[in-house]
Amino acid sequence: MSKQKAVKEPFIHITKKRNDMIWWKAWLIRGAAVLLALIVCAFIIVLLTGYNPIEVYKKMIEGSFATKRKVWALLQGIAMLLCISLAVTPAFKMKFWNLGAQGQVLVGALACAACMFYFKSTLPSGLLIVVMLFAAIVAGMVWALIPAFFKAHWNTNESLFTLMMNYIAIQLVSFAVASWVTSGSGVLGLLNADTNCGWLPAVFEQKYFINVATVALLTVIMYVYLKYTKHGYEIAVVGGSENTARYIGINVKSVILRTLAFSGAMCGLAGFLLVSGTHHTVTETLEGGMGFTAIMVSWLAKFNPIVMVLTSFLIVFLQRGSSEIATAFRLNESVADILTGVILFFIIGCEFFIRYEVHFRKKHKEGEE
């Protein structure tokens, strides 16, 4: 009898929470997850490298905050990642899985660079910048509208479609670079390096000021757009249930097209900021994987633009910190990647405990028989 008792209840039960957790409790769990991640990382550091983990963490923080220049580099990194994250968010809120941010940013950047290349001697810098901005936005928009059109009319799979559009964009950039570069190096150097024509000017002596300020403004605009406008409301309804949207008389097709046009336009804008305000050139790797990282940033923030500031900070901070320790301690880059991976694992993993409840088998103490 007692033997039967011992096996009678499964050890762990997992159930979905019936009610959402109170916000401060959820943040407490997230905080605990970060702390736990740091402790686990400390062990890894000691085991793999033998360095003092406190020193390593210190260097990591220094990577982002040691000098004014580093702080601005951090802000610039956040701004770019945040810009693309904001861009993908309306589509995601509509449950349109746009995996094509990479391509949309690249075509925007390409259009922008093309303007710089062809109009450098015909237009004054100020006017050129306006033309570049316009071209980038239109290019990004078109790149997003193509899969949206097919989705709206024939219900094609948008994930595959947008993903494949990325490769086309990459090849387009390669093609353009190859045709523009006349020297044997095959690398497109800084465009208009002599005249700075089409370069966003430095404000307050900060090269990245315009980038950061633009994205800060966009964050607020996106927050208001999603939460307080009729368009934002329609996006939420279509994302929640297309049947309900139809029932209430929303034209689902036009909402899909409109939202993707907006999403693509913002990606194009990110491309413009990367070319005109940052690199002043275009390469196939210009967006540096941000098109995909942005998906994580957006999801982690549950599509809330204000929270995205925090999540993109976290990602950029970890990236900068890990490359800092890699050079400072002459570690292999992989060690830094391992640490970043562990921290992200804990942060994403803790959402499980926010959404689900885990029950362990209770010990039966008093004589039950």
């Binding site: 039967q4 009678k8 209840e9 499964p10 159930t15 929470k17 019936r18 009610n19 959402d20 307080y228 406008t229 009729k230 368009h231 934002g232 409301y233 939420a236 309804v237 929640g240 249930s241 049947n243 309900t244 139809r246 029932y247 209430i248 008389g249 929303i250 034209n251 409840e357």
Partner: protein, 515 residues
């Protein structure tokens, strides 16, 4: 007293902060039918899931034939000869009845379909089932599918049968047939538990009734010694009057005239065939029929959600006196014409509401376009939400709670409340009380009656014929997409309606056999 086939002692189960079952005691003897009665959310299904091994109780003991047992999985339940027939059938559509019956069984020796069919035939004969073992599931009616589910558990040697709301999907005639079979099984010594909330079924079928309320065990009574009002009181916890005050329609005018509508769905099946009817103001028009006979498509045609191949939908505007054809118009165009049409669809969370949104945002669905600015205005929707929560006694933590967290009845109150707040001239409701407890159900009936008094043309698609006959003025019976008849509800007969419901069905079957 003989030992019970199955006995539960002091069973409790919690889900987080919710006590699903608390101290439940019940027993069923061999050769007995026990009804388990309770409102939605009272823990009936949870309790039965513990017997069939899907959940594990936190406290309490289960005895089978007098011996304590531990049921940890459906496999264990099967070993103790417990068989559960779920509300939603678990069958493979492309398989035949016999294939579904033996699916998953690990029998010794070579697999022999002939032997299986012979045993199925034997079981069928013994209890009076009418089934063709070689018929594919997708060709079957709901009632036939249910038969397959029951034979499936009997084939596995079940002595204790649990049926979760088996009559919800059946016509009165099919229900009677099922009851005859269940009585025969009882006489054969099986122990049967039937979950239901239809009182007249409880009284006509079972030997004893156990009642649950909000997870708590209220008691068990002998059916012969009780009556409807006592059972209701046990279920609800207070005296409720269960009558619908039907008034006579006041100056009915033809509000909506549906003429010869044909609808062909995506699969090329004609789901509506030459449907004609008129809905009048100040009148409740009931629509009766077996589930899936075209009721949903009919309402969606009128709401502008379904493409119509033939026919017209004429709306008589009481303000302008003009007649508008709503056919081929989108829901938005219909509204812009000034047609005040409210619609409570069958799929509440999938069509009527957005489940992730809170109550306020769901109120906004009808009104968010108001105002010339690009911004939405949440003040009026908030007031409306507060009013509905207060007037309809919606149980919710706040107006900013996502509707998916509300119980079925409260979700329905939110939806019906919103649709009525739009001051409709035509109100269409599909299965408005499905899954609702008695109190909420009668609240909805009263709301419909009030709309009728205000001169609204109400179209009510229902499944409970007793309610349809009591509530409506006229009842349109639909069978396989055709109008089988329109009857005056005041002198309608339940069996007559039941026959009409299946009439065209049997015609079609006859036609198919000829081919």
């Amino acid at each position: 007293m003989a030992t019970a086939a199955i006995e539960l002692k002091n069973i409790s189960k919690r889900f987080g902060s919710i006590q699903a079952n608390k101290g439940v005691n019940l027993s069923v003897n061999k050769g007995e039918i026990l009804s388990l009665l309770g409102e939605n959310g009272s823990g009936k299904t949870t309790l039965m899931n513990m017997i069939s091994g899907i959940y594990y109780p936190d406290e309490g003991q289960i005895f089978i034939d007098g011996e304590e047992v531990v049921i940890r999985s459906p496999k264990d339940a099967f070993r103790y000869n417990i068989g559960m027939i779920h509300q939603h059938f678990k069958l493979v559509d492309l398989f035949s009845a016999a294939e579904n019956i033996v699916l998953g069984l690990k029998e010794e020796g070579k697999f022999d379909m002939k032997k299986v069919c012979a045993r199925v035939a034997e079981i069928s004969e013994r209890y009076g089932f009418d089934i063709d073992p070689n018929k594919k599931i997708y060709e079957m009616s709901v009632s036939e599918k249910q038969t397959v589910e029951i034979i499936k558990v009997l084939y596995r040697g079940a002595n204790i049968l649990i049926l979760d709301e088996p009559t919800a999907v059946l016509t009165p005639q099919e229900t009677q047939k099922l009851f005859t079979i269940l009585r025969r099984m009882r006489d054969d010594g099986k122990a049967i538990i039937i979950i239901t909330h239809k009182l007249h079924e409880v009284l006509s079928l079972s030997d004893r009734v156990s009642v649950l309320r909000k997870g708590e065990f209220i008691g068990t009574v002998k059916t012969a010694e009780t009556n409807e009002s006592e059972l209701t009181e046990m279920m609800v916890g207070k005296k409720v009057t269960l009558d619908i005050k039907r008034t006579d329609p006041v100056d009915p005018v033809d509000r909506l005239v549906v003429g010869s509508i044909d609808v062909i769905n995506h699969d090329g099946v004609k789901v509506l065939d030459d449907v004609c009817f008129t809905a009048r103001s100040g009148e409740i028009l009931g629509i009766a029929g077996i589930a899936g006979s075209g009721q949903r498509e009919l309402l969606e045609c009128i709401a502008g959600l379904q493409k119509v191949q033939r026919g017209k939908v004429l709306y008589n505007n009481p303000q302008t006196g003009e007649e508008e054809n709503l056919r081929d118009k989108t829901p938005l165009q219909i509204r812009q014409l000034g047609v005040r049409l409210s619609f409570v669809p069958e799929d509440r969370l999938g069509m009527g509401l957005v489940s992730d949104m809170d109550i306020i945002d769901n109120m906004m669905l009808r009104s968010y376009r108001k105002g010339a600015t690009a911004f939405v205005e949440r003040k009026d929707p908030k007031n409306l939400a507060d009013t509905i929560i207060h007037d309809l006694e919606v149980v919710t933590p706040s107006a900013t709670t996502p509707v998916r967290q509300l119980s079925g009845g409260n979700v329905q109150k939110v939806l019906v409340g919103r649709e009525i707040a739009a001051a409709p001239t035509v109100l269409m409701v599909a299965y408005p009380v499905r899954g609702l407890d008695i109190n909420s159900s009668y609240m909805i009936y009263n709301m419909l009656n009030e709309q009728k008094k205000k001169g609204v043309a109400v179209i009510f698609v229902g499944e409970d014929l007793d309610v349809l006959i009591e509530l409506c003025d006229r009842i349109l019976v639909i069978g396989s997409g055709k109008v089988a008849g329109i009857v005056e509800a005041r002198d309608a007969d339940k069996n007559e309606i039941g026959l009409l419901m299946t009439k065209s069905d049997s015609l079609q079957e006859g036609g198919a056999a000829d081919e």
